[in-house]
């Protein structure tokens, strides 16, 4: 019997075929920098913990389709809602408000890094 007979979390992939590895530094998009800064601040103030974020990330049903910062930011959203720091409804209302007053054009996606990507 091997580990293959047990359900493994999407992060538990040691020994699996990895396929081609993307070794290009794609830099960070504007939103990724913002989201990462938020996660760092909340971690430093111990509002969220690394292990909680890892657990929330592993539980994402679409983990394998998401990119790194999509995973970490989705996990952050889950934990903040779980701990009652915000509600899903509050988050949606705020996102609608921001989107209405500040529609981020594509050019603002960290142009310096954009040049290096792909």
């Amino acid at each position: 019997m091997s580990a293959k007979h047990h359900a493994r979390l999407p992060s538990d992939i040691g020994g699996d075929d990895a396929g081609p590895v993307d070794i290009v530094d794609h830099g960070m998009k504007f939103w990724e920098r913002q989201a990462n800064a938020l996660r760092s601040s909340l971690s430093r103030r111990k509002i969220v913990k690394t292990d909680e974020l890892r657990r929330a990330a592993e539980e994402l049903p679409n983990y394998k389709e998401l990119h790194y910062f999509e995973i970490t930011t989705s996990a952050l959203r889950t934990i903040l809602i779980e701990k009652g720091h915000m509600t899903e409804a509050e988050l949606k209302a705020k996102m609608d408000e921001v989107r209405a007053r500040f529609n981020v054009p594509d050019e603002m996606e960290s142009p310096l890094k954009k040049g290096a990507a792909r």
Binding site: A3, H6, D12, G14, G15, D51, E52, R54, R55
Partner: protein, 117 residues
């Protein structure tokens, strides 16, 4: 002096502790087996190393239990973390590299059992 204590005294004790680890069960050089358990939830031991045997390379210290911290608990009591050294050939049956190649993984004490070479 217990048998375990004598074994520990005979072994070269490298200055290998990052943080205090009071009451640690294993010492540098001890042979350990990684438990073959597959409980659901956030676990810090990768599946590919379960059931494999290695040796304690160093005692890293005692830290809040990440398997509890992951669910918002305080992580107490702290768990001793070890760096465990495995021969690559023991981990991967088809391993083509050198005999001496090793992989080192940090594993918490509650995932380890004492075993013999």
């Amino acid at each position: 002096m217990t048998a375990a204590g004598e074994r520990a005294r005979e072994k070269p004790q490298r200055p290998s502790t990052y943080a205090p680890a009071p009451g640690h069960r294993f010492n540098v050089g001890d042979h350990v087996l990684v438990k073959r358990r597959f409980p659901p939830g956030h676990r810090r031991t990768p599946s590919y190393i379960k059931g494999k045997t290695g040796t304690i390379e160093r005692i890293c210290g005692a830290f809040g239990n990440p398997e509890e911290l992951a669910y918002g608990f305080d992580g107490e009591p702290k768990r001793v973390l070890y760096r465990v050294r495995f021969r690559q050939k023991d981990v991967w049956p088809e391993y083509q590299g050198a005999e001496r190649d090793v992989i080192e993984i940090e594993i918490y004490e509650h995932w380890l059992e004492r075993t013999h070479p």
